[in-house]
């Protein structure tokens, strides 16, 4: 069971490279009409909702992210393209018959996570597989989620986390869901390569794509009893790191001494790095920090910045000298970055 729709009319058509390129082209031109036509034509040609959303919209969205990351597209272009894809998902959803017979799931993005398109795609694919899906949208505060769970008693929560720096928040949300007796299916690269950190923060399962989400919901995970094994406690040093976050950020920004108009951007970036450090300690895996710092360095240098991460990491080491895990992880990260250069 992949969440595909049954019985396509005529020989089913697959989403091919031509369609992908045409779609990317209409995003480049910010042309919602053209993009929607491509998607709906594929549906008419026998593609399932999952085919169109996963193999077309999600695939192209990765390319959009890449273009933003490498500096080929501005933030505004990326937002415009994403907006078009959101309209397309809406149009595809409008074509899906609602036959909610399987149970009720809730789709939410971790608080602070504003990239809701991937989550929206998951919601629609799971809906097409016969579930009733409530899409709570981007950046859902944990308390809103919990109050919603108590009011509606869904069978499962699908939680999207794109950035590993939000993993601590994701863990808190999962804990809240578990304590309301609802299991969580985690999704998104924020839970690590192949979802390796999902179990450590208490998720009952992890899926890479929207199809995985539909498949996992089919599994025996979701009786009333099973919210999955409890999260792994790990070191509590991350609590100390988070408590000193603001102080570390101020110190690092002072050491960086950026031009005034960029000071706030830098502060935000450093704060995310500290979040990633805390998350790495939480799941006892320095790779989380190494990967995140590598990604940040890429973002910064793609926009013509000089490599700054080493300065930031050095400031963090100074600020966190008495915390052994932190120093260890930061040292590993500096070595890895030096190796890349």
């Amino acid at each position: 069971m992949t969440g595909d729709d049954p019985e396509p009319a005529g020989p089913p058509r697959r989403v091919d490279q031509t369609a992908v390129e045409a779609y990317l082209d209409s995003l480049d031109r910010a042309d919602p009409g053209g993009a929607t036509r491509i998607a709906l034509d594929l549906l008419d040609a026998g593609c399932s909702v999952a085919d169109v959303l996963v193999d077309l919209v999600a695939v192209v969205q990765r390319e959009v992210g890449l273009r933003w990351l490498t500096g080929r597209w501005s933030v505004a272009q990326e937002h415009a393209a994403t907006h078009v894809s959101e309209l397309v998902v809406g149009a595809v959803a409008g074509r899906t018959p609602r036959r909610a017979s399987r149970g009720h799931t809730v789709m939410a993005c971790v608080e602070g996570e504003w990239h809701a398109l991937a989550a929206r795609i998951v919601a629609e694919v799971v809906r097409a597989a016969g579930w009733r899906v409530t899409f709570l949208g981007a950046s859902v505060p944990a308390r809103h989620l919990v109050s919603y769970l108590h009011q509606t008693g869904p069978d499962a929560v699908l939680l999207s986390c794109v950035q590993p720096s939000w993993l601590i928040r994701a863990g808190r949300m999962i804990e809240a869901c578990r304590s309301a007796g609802v299991p969580v299916v985690a999704g998104g690269p924020g839970f690590g390569p192949a979802g390796r950190w999902a179990a450590a923060v208490g998720a009952a399962a992890w899926g890479e794509t929207a199809r995985d989400a539909a498949r996992l919901l089919d599994g025996p995970l979701f009786g009333a009893v099973n919210t999955g094994p409890a999260p792994v406690p790990g070191s509590d040093e991350y609590v100390a790191v988070l408590r000193r976050r603001r102080e570390i950020v101020q110190l690092a920004v002072r050491d960086l001494d950026p031009p005034e108009e960029r000071a706030e951007d830098f502060a935000t970036a450093v704060a995310h790095l500290v979040d990633a450090l805390a998350a790495a300690i939480r799941v006892s895996d320095p790779r989380l920090l190494v990967d995140f710092a590598g990604w940040q360095e890429e973002v910064l240098t793609a926009r013509g910045g000089r490599p700054l991460l080493d300065t930031v990491l050095a400031s963090c080491v100074a600020a966190l000298a008495e915390h052994p895990h932190s120093c260890d992880y930061l040292r590993l990260t500096r070595e890895a970055l030096a190796g890349r250069a």
Partner: protein, 540 residues
Amino acid sequence: MSRPLPRPAPEPLLPADSRLARELLDGLAEAVVTTDRSGVVTLVNAMTGELLPELTPGTDLARCAVPALARAVGHGAETFDTEHRGRRLRGVRRPLAGGRCAWYVRDVTEEQARTDALLAERSRTAFLAQAGSRLGLSLHREQTLRATATLPVPYLADAALVIHHAPPPSDDLPHWIRYADGEPGPVAGVGSHELTGSVPGLAEALEGDSTDPSPWLDAELADLATVLPESFGQPGTLLISPMLSAGGPAGALILIRRAGRAGFDQRDIELAREFSARAGAAVATAELYGEQAHLARVLQQSLLPPQLPPVPGVTLAGGYRAAGDSLRIGGDFYEVFPTASGGMFALGDVCGKGVGAAVLTGRVRQSLQTLRLVEQRPLELIRLLNRALFDAPDAARRGQFTTLLLGVTAQDPDGGVRIRIAGGGHPSPLLVRPDGGIVSVQVGGMPIGAFTDARFVEAEVRLAPGELLLAYTDGVTEARGGPAAVEMFGETRLRQALASVAGLPPGAVVDRLLQLVDEWLDGQGHDDIAMLAVCAADQA
């Protein structure tokens, strides 16, 4: 004087007296069996006669009538453990000189019973502890009922059924939730009226009374059998317990064991009663929460920002973040109504926060909904609204007021949109040009609902295609955060943010602003935040 040295004994003295040896052996609490080198029994003591009367001298132990022992001999094992003649026996083999050997067999029946009892007690405690914590998790009625059906399987029964009556307004039929061993999850359904009456003890349990477990009689329980899964097999016994709670029974729990399984003993019954009482209490709590949440939801639905209706000639998007509370209601609001010539929009901020502000917000929005039916010119409408709010009982004494922007859109033939905006003391909306230029649209006016002689003003603005108008509440600019956590987001940052998304559709602009403010706050508390973006619709 010397004494002769005792002669050293060549080896420890063995009683030469076979009678003494016999008496010693027979006095042992263990059975002792010796065999010769070919495995034939040579000697048995008195206890052997009690525990293993099958064994007598001359028996070939490998073929004896104690299967576990014969197997042990056959396999050359050192020990055996078996149930024999109603006793638990444990034997150990010791080699003797000359290829002979001895088996020492102990009766461990009581020891085993004590261990079993302890383990059973432990597993009961663990079951109740787990059940208690699971039942306490959810505040949702259905989910608590599902947990109630799932938890007793397989520990207490092979299938569990919860019979309950759905809360009013609802039919009077008995609802059931079933979980049987091997099913992927609980299944729910509605039973016939006859179900309650046809199952002996069920009506009593739903009234709160307990009955003893009873054997399953196919003829009597035909109605109940339809509720079990087809593959379940032949039921053996059932036990019905009331799910008691402070407010009367919340339902009944039916536990069913298959024919092959032993019936419910006294401890099982006590455990089932205890469990169903806990479940009843949990359901009652969830029902109470459900009623409260329903009330809150009704209130919330009338206060939450609406899904925006399509308005000819413009595209619109709204964004909303309530100040921290799980009800998600507050004092900021927006509304959009289609009109004959275009559309009308309103964005407002009621002073104060929490439920008090939410109630006034409700009143403002209600009044607006009604008054716009009779008056659609913004300046006239805002005056009318001021009168209506001011005339409301107690309004002046509470000293609450509202700032408001009220706009009416009309399509221009060239694809642009003209907007007349009346202001009631609200932050000026911002006009965003496609090239990133930002202009503040001065509207002004006084807050509504506070002064009888309040003055209001009206401005007109024209949006060319690609231009966007953003109305927002002061929760946006006054959001405190940033590196020092105390700085306000401010209009400068808002303008910069808008410039960076100039030319994007309203939905993308609003999302981006919410994101930036959220990042600025960085998890800190904030006031209500609302914004509404309007631009001329694409001609495409």
